[in-house]
Symmetry: C2
Subunit: 487 residues, 2 copies
């Protein structure tokens, strides 16, 4: 790897955010382009982040009472057509299997873009009585949507996700489930991924095809554009009616079930990169970092090596025994400077540097990835290094959230004047969140989109605002909504 030592710096975020993003993904070896259009390869360092967040979210989902299952990759084409809005939304982006086993299929199969239809078919087989409800299932799987413009993690033809699907005896119970999962997502993304969010319902134009109401969690990325990080849908009885998913209630009457679905995907990896990354590379929240701490021994003279290495190994052992995910960087032929840059690029939260003078004084230099300059470094006693690093990782997790929260707050504005709003959205940078009165008329939303490319990202559930006037038409408005340009 010696030839990498004079590798050039990444494009600064401020100069070209999209180029910066792609370079980070490739150089931190999170993913790579594949020979299949719009599909990426998750490399081990990227997949490890997904595994970590998947396992944690899986625990949280199971705690709500949902259980995991697995439904077929293929969906008969006719299924998609049973729910009018659903087919309208998904038909243009499906991949179609027409041949299998050397023969043309009688009915083409589509590759699931989402599984409401096939799951409803099975629900209609399994659900007979109110005693079978609620039925709460989740699956982790791959889905395919034929996207025109793709971007690594954010929008790929194939992606990985979880999709929860539940059926309930009453509208109220299903609505509660929709909001319960929205809150599970919010806590998970804010606490575990350190990404601050705006939470609310979607406008009708942004609803999931087939849903009565869609709720969303939205982050604000480093370039001022919003990213939808997860959605929870109240499906009402739309799919139940399409698939005859009925149950016998306690009055012996047949009723359609009330349903929800909810999902988050591998685009969360993009959210982590674009929320926390800086011009040196990735910055990973300690919770998801495959390597939380790296120990770098430093020496020049051969006779110093042995003592330094022994101290580095002792530190490694201490950190490892404390349950931390730690690596010891003993690679030869690389300068300390190269190694520091390399681990910074890969987003490792804490780096420990141990040289001959440190060994002599029983100390080490601890560098934290969430800060830069002199305040990123401190001296720590080698004897108590695990204790110190455990506390530091916790502090870094909180600080990454605080930094992102401050950035989001600084980039969220209220507007009463449409011209000023347009100027902001058309200016340099993504424009940030605009928190504005909207009358709810789709025409005003369309006008904003046509004028600025910004869309309604979320209408907060709790408003706490006095009545005002719609930013666009000036009619009375009872709610403020978040608008932004988005991924």
């Amino acid at each position: 790897m010696a030839e990498k030592q004079d590798e050039k710096k990444v494009t600064p975020r401020s100069q070209d955010f999209a180029a910066w993003y792609n370079e980070i993904v490739l150089r931190a070896e999170l993913a790579d382009y594949s020979p299949v259009r719009g599909c990426i390869v998750f490399r081990p360092d990227g997949f490890a982040i997904w595994e970590s967040l998947r396992d944690e979210l899986d625990r949280r989902i199971k705690k709500t009472g949902a259980r995991n299952a697995y439904f077929p990759l293929f969906i008969p084409q006719s299924f998609l057509q049973k729910e009018a809005k659903h087919v309208e939304g998904f038909a243009p982006e499906v991949a179609v299997v027409t041949h299998g086993g050397g023969k043309e299929l009688e009915e083409p199969l589509i590759i699931r873009p989402t599984s409401e239809t096939i799951i409803n078919y099975m629900f209609s087989q399994w659900i007979r009585s109110h005693r079978d409800l609620p039925m709460m299932l989740n699956q982790w799987c791959n889905v395919v949507r034929w996207e025109m413009r793709t971007r690594m993690f954010l929008r790929t033809t194939e992606f990985l996700w979880q999709e929860g699907h539940t059926a309930h005896a009453s509208a109220e119970e299903a609505q509660n489930e929709t909001l319960t999962m929205l809150e599970v997502y919010r806590q998970f993304v804010e606490d575990y991924l350190a990404i601050p969010l705006v939470v609310g319902r979607k406008s009708a134009a942004e609803r999931f095809p087939g849903a009565v109401e869609t709720y969303t969690i939205e982050g604000l990325m480093g370039d001022g554009r919003a990213l939808q990080c997860g959605t929870s849908h109240f499906l009402g009885q739309n799919f139940a009616r399409a698939f005859e998913t009925k149950y016998l209630d306690d009055q012996n009457q047949m009723q359609f079930v009330w349903q929800t679905s909810w999902g988050v995907s591998t685009r969360l990896l993009g959210a982590i990169i674009m929320t926390h990354g800086d011009d040196q590379g990735l910055r990973l929240p300690p919770t998801v970092a495959a390597t939380q701490v790296v120990v770098v021994p430093i020496w020049r003279k051969a006779d110093e090596g042995e003592k330094v290495l022994a101290a580095a190994r002792a530190a490694f052992d201490q950190l490892n025994e404390a349950g931390l995910r730690v690596r010891l960087d003993t690679r030869e032929g690389l300068t300390p400077g190269f190694k520091f840059n390399d681990w910074e690029m890969r987003g490792v939260p804490v780096r420990i540097e141990i040289g001959p003078r440190d060994v002599a004084s029983g100390e080490a230099v601890v560098a934290r990835r969430d800060k830069s300059g002199p305040e990123a470094k401190s001296k720590v006693s080698l004897a108590a290094i695990a204790e110190k690093v455990v506390a530091l990782l916790d502090e870094i997790q909180k600080n990454l959230f605080a930094q992102a929260k401050a950035a989001m707050t600084a980039n969220t504005r209220e507007f009463d004047d449409y011209a000023m709003f347009k100027t902001q959205m058309e200016g340099e940078g993504g424009g940030g969140f605009a928190h504005v009165y909207w009358c709810g008329n789709p025409a005003c939303e369309t006008q904003i989109r046509d004028d600025t490319k910004a869309s309604c990202r979320a209408i907060p559930l709790e408003q706490n605002v006095a009545p005002g006037k719609c930013l666009v038409c000036g009619e009375s408005a009872s709610e403020r909504a978040y608008f932004a340009k988005s991924y």
Copy 2:
């Protein structure tokens, strides 16, 4: 669920093994048929077994140094054609995507039946020097093979599996990796799934398309037919040559890498059912059982209920705190007899029955699923119930293996006489394992297959046999191989 109380018994294994198998899968709610030909739905009780074994195997795979990654579902059709044997083996069973996003694709995409080709394409991008080797990756994913005859878990159009792919600098290192993974599989299946195995290499006819050598672990199912439970392939340089996967060695020479691939799939769920199940239903090894212990409180008079329920809850708490996966069956309107049958059908290893007299004497009845009749039940002090059950689960795990091992041994025979061998293979039942001398000539193997439908399942790596004569042609033979009819 009251209507289920007079449900009929399952078809006995001895009467119709295939019918018994399907009934167990459906009635224990492990899986269900789907509206897509050859694809099944994994229901929560079935998927929980897969999750448990996947997580354990994943730990063991990572311990060997392999890391998880994820490659695209789609493979360009031209990739399959680069390795001659590979295309010959897989082309007839692929599913083909011809349309995406409403348009016909320029080059059709196949859905991965296995990923050697696309992974080699990526390896050829990533591997430059001997310092990049070994490269050891694994992925958990779905694959599709268009099967003519399908059977739940054992052979389905879509199935779930893990596939490991490694690249090495020398043939010896790759061969060692192949055998290391074979041994990881053997230990995992024998220890964790309690399934005894025969281990060895495959004959040329049974090799993976594109491999130089295929190694296998084979179980013997309850009907005397063999089931391939996992394979590990030494690929030599076949795919490296097809995809130009080369590295610069330490002498500055370009060399093709040496490769392996290895996998196990959801067919292991079928292996568990067919190895351990009996006429009462499923019998799950405690390691993979979603519910390890069920507590069933029993009472008739209303005034007894409170005390019995309190004792049952205390037992539940004690077992739960001991880290066991335990359920308390307080369902109303069901007889104890129905509940016992229900939990036996679902394969729960230990059942605890607590009635009024048990509460009075401070005891409970413990019934173990691995035995039947009077010896399945014993009395245990309620105060020490967790300790007793922990030990019992360990005993059950070992006993299930011992029972299966005894059955396999009893159904494994040596033959010197081809007529006797044929009689055995053509008789009632699957025929079991025949451990016979084979000269290695494919013609003799073909004759056995034509005469009896038995195939060569495995040629043990350690033979410890004196030279003998081929069962078919009588020529000299240095090895004994296991032949059997198989799934």
